[in-house]
Amino acid sequence: MPSAAPARRPAGTLYRGREGMWSWVAHRVTGVLVFFFLLVHVLDTALVRVSPEAYNQVIDTYKNPVMNVMEVGLVGAVLYHALNGLRIIAIDFWERGPRYQRQMLWTVVAVWVVVMVPGTYFMLERTISEMLGSV
């Protein structure tokens, strides 16, 4: 009598458990965050119709160190959502997309890191040098 094959965990449905699910959670969280930023952002830009002073005053808050760090977070969120969005599109339309979904997620993570490292440097360069007093 053949011995029963050892029970195997399902190798992963697309959206339940493991990478597929966490990438979806992160996609949803970043999408919602960016949407709320955008609502505020269109309104702060609308201050150009109030007066140059009003606009400049609000835009100056984007330049303080705490906001500067939050901008890095915003860019990171948008970049993840964009790259993972392209991965979702590839899963849906590329015939071999579902098979390579996991590899594509690690590609998304790798590209994200490669862009964010120099990106963070350029975004914070001025703030950090001002804080160290070299300007």
Partner: protein
Amino acid sequence: MTSTASEPRDSDLLAAPNSPRKSFTPRGRANREMIAWVFMRVSGMFLVVLVLGHLLIMNILDGGVHRINFGFVAGRWSNPFWQVWDLAMLWLAMLHGTNGLRVVIADYASRPQTRFWLTMLLYVASALVIVTGTLVIFTFDPTMS
């Protein structure tokens, strides 16, 4: 086996395995969901260029946020290219985000009334922001003081 259209058949209540799916969603709504699904993907591909390009310009190139002020915006919107860019980004990002939030609300707000009013609040807020942003681009006055 035949049956007339008026009598309900078993298969109307319970689909046989592997038979074409009988949808419980009315045709019109199923079709709208399909359009929304395609729109999310098409707008997403445009937004990759529009939004990542915007972030590169605003945060990284040439001094990043530290150089932004009224004069900077005036310079950019004197060029129709950036006006069209911002207009396309405004509409696509707002419609994409609004549809995305509609789905998120539908997933979590289980009481029909809660869902209805949250969705209405979303639509009203989105419409106001889209109209405001559009007017701002078209009525911008660089000589204002």
